[in-house]
């Protein structure tokens, strides 16, 4: 090889060789402050956080509003719409109780009736004590509640009297067709309405008895079992349970299957964990003619191995089917480059070339002539080098749920903002050395890719009152290349992914 050719090659290699530079430090040292601190990322994050916080508060306020409304109805004797609804429920209870007692009378003997009366007397004594205790507790804990009117409503005086004079109580109970004890009945209707309510109930009771008489005996027996189970539940509940304790009364409410529902929600709030497998569509480009060879090599020998994604979303859904879904998503994409090196190794061996035989007198001289033989062996050495790209995104999407028979389909579009991109591993750069170790800088890849968009459908299947699963084919693309400005090869990704998610709804519709 001519020495001047060597120098020419040396010049070509060295004139374009590069050394890694800490750009941020250099730009600071040179007082070049072009990059203004980005307000978009913190702005976006804080807006998302505020939105989620606002939605959470709105949701809980909304649910508490209805809970408090129903509680206040029980606590307030004033006639209003809500209290009327509760009164209706309670009247139904009372009527059911009466009917149950009456059915028991029909079904059982006179002896059994007397036994019931005795039991009721004992329970009524307990109720009076509980009522008094409850009154004192409420007086102590919440003096704002007008316990006088409240407990007047439930008729402690009457109940006390019945304890002092059990016979009178017995007579009263008997006179009312062996209905539930006086204090239980008073629980279900305010004092100032007692007379009219009682009359009303008596009328209704008479109608029901007539109806029972008209029904076959088997139907009455079946119904009486249901009624008995319901009426058995009533004495087991304390006054405090029925009128002051929300959580305990909630356990009673499921028994009242015929109660009207007034929690038909306008919005529902859901938490959605999701995992996904993505098929990245990678686009490699360059404007630099010097990097054309490297581009071809990477296109030919670099393959995307796999890409995984995991995300968590909060979904706020209107009962019209429209929804808003912000969240956070992480993903990891692995790339592999296969570098094939041809290595030639020269082996020098001695090879027998000729055998000369000379006969001198009687002596034979054999001369073996060897010469060096150089044989070249070529091996292909394949080096597999991988690097991975990890990204954290903030996605936000809007969609519409279309209900079908047995399942639902969401049509969804959204935007995602990449807040963090990290690369690790070794990238093929074609130069010597062939691979560059990726570090936590922007030599080859950006630290944030910026804005991207996505769209797809979610096929949902309801599992229970609170849970749904969905399978979602989704396409997403980034608006910017992932490569940094210093990287001659521009690398851009789009993804087609299949995602599996579980929707946990905090409130049922």
């Amino acid at each position: 090889m001519d020495y001047l050719d060597f120098e020419k090659g040396l010049k070509d290699k060295l004139s374009q060789s590069r050394k890694e530079v800490d750009m941020n430090r250099l730009l600071n040292d040179l007082n070049i402050h072009n990059e203004k601190p980005s307000r978009f990322i913190p702005g976006f994050l804080s807006t998302s956080a505020l939105l989620i916080a606002f939605l959470s508060i709105a949701y809980f306020s909304y649910t508490n509003y209805f809970s408090e409304k129903s509680t206040s109805v029980a606590h307030t004797i004033q006639a209003n719409e809500a209290s009327k609804a509760v009164e209706i429920d309670k009247s139904q209870l009372s009527i059911e109780a009466n009917v149950s007692s009456e059915a028991s009378i029909i079904a059982q003997s006179k002896k059994a009736q007397n036994k019931i009366i005795e039991v009721e007397q004992q329970e009524s004594s307990q109720k009076i004590i509980e009522a008094k205790t409850a009154k004192s507790i409420i007086d102590q804990t919440n003096p704002q509640i007008n316990t006088n009117s409240y407990f007047k409503g439930i008729g402690i005086d009457q109940a006390s009297e019945s304890v002092l004079n059990p016979k009178k109580n017995l007579n009263n109970s008997t006179a009312k067709h062996f209905s539930i004890p006086a204090e239980n009945k008073i629980i279900l209707s305010p004092k100032n309405q007692t007379t009219s309510k009682e009359l009303d109930k008596s009328t209704k009771s008479a109608e029901i008895i007539a109806d029972i008489n008209a029904k076959p005996l088997e139907t009455i027996k079946e119904n009486s079992q249901v009624w008995n189970s319901k009426i058995e539940a009533i004495p087991s509940l304390s006054l405090i349970t029925l009128q002051t304790n929300e959580t305990q009364s909630a356990s009673f409410l499921p028994l009242l299957k015929d109660c009207p529902t007034f929690k038909d929600r306008l919005w529902t709030f859901s938490f959605i964990p999701e995992i996904g497998y993505q098929w990245p569509i990678k686009k490699l480009e360059t404007d630099d003619a010097n990097a054309a060879g490297l581009l071809e090599e990477r296109k030919q020998d670099e393959i995307t191995l796999e890409s995984f994604q995991a995300a968590a979303y909060f979904e706020l859904k209107h009962n019209s089917g429209l929804y808003l879904k912000p969240g956070i998503s992480i993903s990891k994409t692995n790339e592999q480059f296969k570098l094939k090196n041809n290595i030639t190794i020269s082996d020098t061996t001695l090879q027998l070339v000729r055998i000369d035989t000379i006969i001198v007198n009687d002596t034979i001289e054999i001369t073996q002539i060897y010469e060096e033989k150089i044989s070249d062996s070529t091996f292909v050495n394949t080096i597999n080098s991988t690097y991975s790209i990890s990204q954290v995104d903030i996605p936000i999407s809007i969609g519409y749920t279309h209900l079908l028979e047995g399942f639902a389909i969401d049509f969804e579009i959204g935007a995602k903002f990449n807040i963090l991109t990290r690369t690790s591993g070794s990238l093929y750069i074609g130069d010597e050395p062939a691979f560059a170790r990726l570090r936590d800088d922007e030599t080859y890849f950006r630290r944030s890719v910026g804005l991207g968009f996505f769209g797809g459908i979610n096929i949902r299947k309801q599992l229970n009152a609170f849970g749904e699963v969905y399978l979602a084919p989704r396409f997403q693309f980034n608006t910017k290349t992932i490569s940094s400005d210093g990287n001659a090869i521009s690398q851009k990704y789009s993804n087609f992914g299949l995602h599996l998610g579980y929707v946990y709804t905090f409130a049922t519709k």
Binding site: Y3, V21, L27, I32, I345
Partner: protein, 190 residues
């Protein structure tokens, strides 16, 4: 953003274009400065001086020659200035070196990596390495080298001959098998 846009922006002192210029040329210039100074910190200082001078004098750049050559010349001057500051002078020995330079080197020399070549240059005598870099890599003439280093042209020629002789000696000392083995190890440990 193409180079002409960047240059025009730098002339207007547009910080965005200045940043683009720095990002494009800093890795090349840092390597260049390192070839003259053999010290990363000094090379960084020289590169920084180079960019300051580029931004200062870019309005004087006539778009006649290649911009990269222009900016590299500034980088060479800055490197030599840093070297001068460190040791008081560039201190090129005035020698007469008349050995005949062999005209051939083994073929495997073509396979040397950039790192190998830098290592070879680093092993040259310092004065000879500077002249070798300026003449062979940067393309200076002996006259320009003599002016830049304040030496005679004949000294520049002698230093180049010395560098070339030494370079060929070192290449001949390398064995191909060793070269292959080193490559293999380097790739595996990347």
């Amino acid at each position: 953003m193409n180079l002409n846009t960047i240059i025009e922006g730098c002339k207007r002192q547009d910080s965005k274009c200045q940043e683009a210029l720095v990002k494009q040329y800093a890795p090349i210039l840092l390597r260049l400065c390192n070839r003259y100074l053999y010290d990363e910190h000094l090379a960084y200082d020289a590169m920084q001086d180079c960019f300051i001078n580029v931004f200062k004098y870019i309005n004087g750049y006539k778009e006649e020659g290649k911009f990269e050559a222009w900016i590299k010349r500034i980088a060479v001057n800055c490197s030599l200035n840093v070297r001068k500051k460190m040791s008081g002078s560039i201190n090129i020995e005035e020698i007469e070196y008349t050995n005949d330079v062999p005209t051939f080197v083994p073929d495997f020399a073509a396979k040397f990596s950039t790192e190998d070549l830098l290592l070879l240059i680093e092993r040259l005598p310092k004065s000879a390495a500077i002249v070798f870099n300026m003449y062979v890599v940067e393309g200076y003439s002996h006259k320009e080298i003599a002016e830049a280093l304040d030496i005679k042209e004949s000294s520049s020629r002698s230093q180049l001959t010395r560098a070339r002789t030494k370079m060929i000696e070192m290449i001949n000392d390398c064995k191909e098998s060793e070269k292959i083995r080193m490559d293999k190890i380097r790739i595996q440990y990347q």
